[in-house]
């Protein structure tokens, strides 16, 4: 039908004006948040800004604890702290962009927790060219690029996994079947822990009968555990790549009413320690974010203030790990994050 009227002009026009208003409001909003943020960042005349780049502090007590530690140390040493997080576990490129933006912003120094050991290499080069010293923490940069950063401070995830493996062998008296709940696909730290765990089992009578990813999420961890338990009625042990999935796993076990399964995890978060106290899990391989944070900042600042030459500092500083179990609860309660 050909109409001699323009298609209902009145509403569409008003709609459009409306949308312009929206758009403007939007811009205004952005700018506002922006101003708030920037003023927050620039406040307190300080010796300079030290930035921390993390994948995320969400769903991750460890990263939160690390961030808190760095913040405390940075401010205690008279610098301004700036935290940037890439958000998604997978936003590798976002982190790289953010680091570039920090370089453009000419921060004094940088503490970097690489989301991917390779992805950060190019941008580390840029930081060096811009004369911005960097200390990496938690997860390592790919081998062969040690010249790009002062030092790496962190838990040796492979080692932590391996210790867990050895513990598993010991507590299962060298024979039995175990399940593994992995981290998210493509997480270096998670993969290293599991690889280490397997290494730890080598030469023992303990075998892995099921291995599925829990995506760092309780609901997924619960479902895969439920299903794996169906296939393996006779498992005695379970290893998970992180404390963050323990709740889901325990739910699955209790639904299937499986008692006395030896559960070993990695992290040493207060959550895990609670479960430890309640006897729900056997142990968790502790990391020490506070230690990592403060060491990292110390080394960084000493280089910034030329107290020590960058090359005088060892390239790898292992913040160590230890097993929290019901035998050392008090210690765990002191150290846990």
């Amino acid at each position: 039908m050909i109409s001699i009227t323009p298609k209902s002009p009145i509403p569409s026009i008003s709609l459009r004006n409306l949308s312009k208003v929206f758009a403007l409001a939007l811009i205004a909003g952005t700018t506002f948040t922006a101003v708030k943020q920037s003023t927050a960042a620039e406040s307190s005349a300080s010796k300079g800004t030290i930035a921390l780049s993390l994948k995320t502090i969400t769903n991750d007590d460890f990263q939160k604890a690390l961030a808190d530690a760095v913040k405390a140390k940075v401010e205690s040493m008279g610098y301004t702290f700036l935290l940037v997080t890439a958000g998604e576990q997978t936003a590798v490129s976002a982190q790289v962009n953010q680091v570039e933006d920090l370089i453009a912003k000419k921060v004094t120094g940088m503490v970097l927790n690489p989301m991917d050991g390779n992805a950060v290499v190019p941008v580390l080069g840029k930081a060096r060219d811009a004369g911005i010293p960097v200390v990496t923490v938690d997860s390592p940069v790919a081998k062969g690029h040690e010249d790009l950063y002062i030092t790496f401070v962190g838990t040796d995830n492979f080692n932590a996994g391996m210790q867990a493996g050895k513990q598993m062998v010991q507590s299962l008296a060298n024979k039995g079947k175990v399940l593994v709940v992995r981290g998210a696909n493509g997480s270096v730290a998670g993969d290293n822990r599991v690889d280490g765990f397997k290494k730890g089992l080598e030469g023992s009578g303990v075998t892995i009968v099921g291995e599925q990813p829990g995506n760092w999420t309780n609901s997924v961890a619960m479902q895969v555990t439920e299903n794996m338990l169906q296939a393996n009625k006779d498992v005695q042990g379970l290893f998970t790549a992180s404390d963050v999935m323990l709740d889901g796993i325990l739910e699955a076990l209790s639904d299937a009413n499986r008692k006395g399964i030896v559960i070993i995890s990695v992290d040493g978060s207060h959550k895990a320690v609670d479960l430890l106290a309640g006897g729900d899990i056997y142990g968790t391989m502790a990391q020490f974010p506070q230690k990592i944070g403060s060491i990292a900042v110390e080394k960084l600042v000493s280089v910034i203030e030329n107290k020590s030459a960058a090359n005088s500092i060892p390239k790898v500083i292992d913040s160590g790990t230890m097993l929290y179990s019901k035998d050392n609860l008090d210690e765990a309660k002191k150290q846990m994050f």
Binding site: E211, N218, Q230, A231, E251
Partner: protein
């Protein structure tokens, strides 16, 4: 009823399910056990609630890509209300569903009145919701929820948790709503030909908006029950993967991509199909990475088969 059964049989989801189960029984160790069946049922209950809403949205000719993120938001909200503010259970449940309803209202309003295509709207709101729940929760996982709340979904009746019975009840209601109510008729009329429906005096605008409200409310309820089931509240529950799972279930269940046609029973089978596959993958300890590809492969096969059949007819 006859027509429902016919359509269900026609869309073939039953056939697929039967074949899968047979395959499972024959090839997958430990698949054929009452225990495992119960596990699959438990895992299917919550998606079965969510798929209902998606079925209705697809019937309008739209899509809701934000569904999984409503689940995450609901989970976060539940955690906060039940643990942090320890509100009474009934209030927590009501408020959570209400939040879902509000999200749906926003989606529906944008789609119906601002005429923004549904996949753009819900793609956008999806990101928005995920951002919000992450920021609100500051990423804290809230666990050890109050037993009174857990009781809602976990009280054991005849070996199955209440969440299963809730799901059954809601699916029954949904079946009735879609296949036996004036709303359902209006919904499908709108999906087939919104113009004609509008000019026949049907409340098309309301139907369209209400559909999204229902979809998000059900998603929120699913999020609540999921939180109860896992006894942990966190924003990254659900998410894009969950959304895709639900869309797959609905389409495998024979819901038309062109609007108008939808089958609750079919969608239910769709969910079961997916959960059986996941179960087998885990039982056989196949690399979980296969999963997305397998799932996508199935949905494609179904679409193609369906098309070819309709060509033949």
């Amino acid at each position: 009823m006859r027509r429902i059964i016919q359509t269900t049989l026609k869309n073939g989801s039953v056939v697929i399910l039967v074949l899968l189960v047979l395959a499972g029984i024959v090839f997958v160790r430990n698949f054929a056990s009452i225990d495992n069946a119960a596990v699959i049922v438990r895992q299917s209950a919550i998606p079965a609630i969510a798929v209902l809403g998606m079925t209705m949205v697809l019937m309008t000719g739209g899509i809701d890509l934000s569904l999984g993120f409503v689940v995450g938001l609901a989970s976060t909200a539940t955690g906060f209300m039940a643990k942090v503010w320890d509100l009474p259970v009934d209030l927590t449940v009501a408020a959570t569903v209400l939040i879902g309803a509000l999200v749906g209202l926003v989606n529906g309003a944008i789609i119906q009145y601002m005429k923004v295509p549904s996949f753009i709207t819900t793609l956008g709101t999806g990101y928005i919701l995920y951002g919000i729940s992450q920021l609100v929760s500051a990423g804290n996982v809230i666990t050890r929820l109050p037993p009174s709340l857990l009781a809602v979904g976990r009280t054991n009746l005849l070996g199955l948790p209440t969440s299963v019975y809730i799901a059954v009840g809601i699916v029954a209601l949904g079946w009735f709503l879609i296949h036996r109510s004036v709303f359902g008729r209006a919904l499908s009329a709108f999906g087939f030909n919104s113009r004609a429906a509008f000019l026949s005096g049907l409340p098309t605008a309301r139907v369209n908006v209400l559909t999204y409200v229902l979809c998000s409310s059900l998603a929120a309820l699913a999020g609540l029950l999921l939180t109860i089931r896992v006894n942990a509240a966190q924003p990254n529950m659900g998410g894009g993967v969950f959304t895709f799972e639900i869309i797959t279930a609905a389409i495998v269940g024979g819901t038309s991509l062109f609007g108008g046609v939808g089958s609750v029973i079919g969608s239910l089978f769709g969910v079961l199909i997916i959960k059986v596959i996941e179960n087998c993958i885990n039982l056989m300890n196949i690399s979980y990475h296969l999963y997305l590809a397998v799932q996508g492969g199935i949905i494609l096969t179904v679409i193609v088969m369906d098309k070819i059949r309709s060509r033949a007819a």
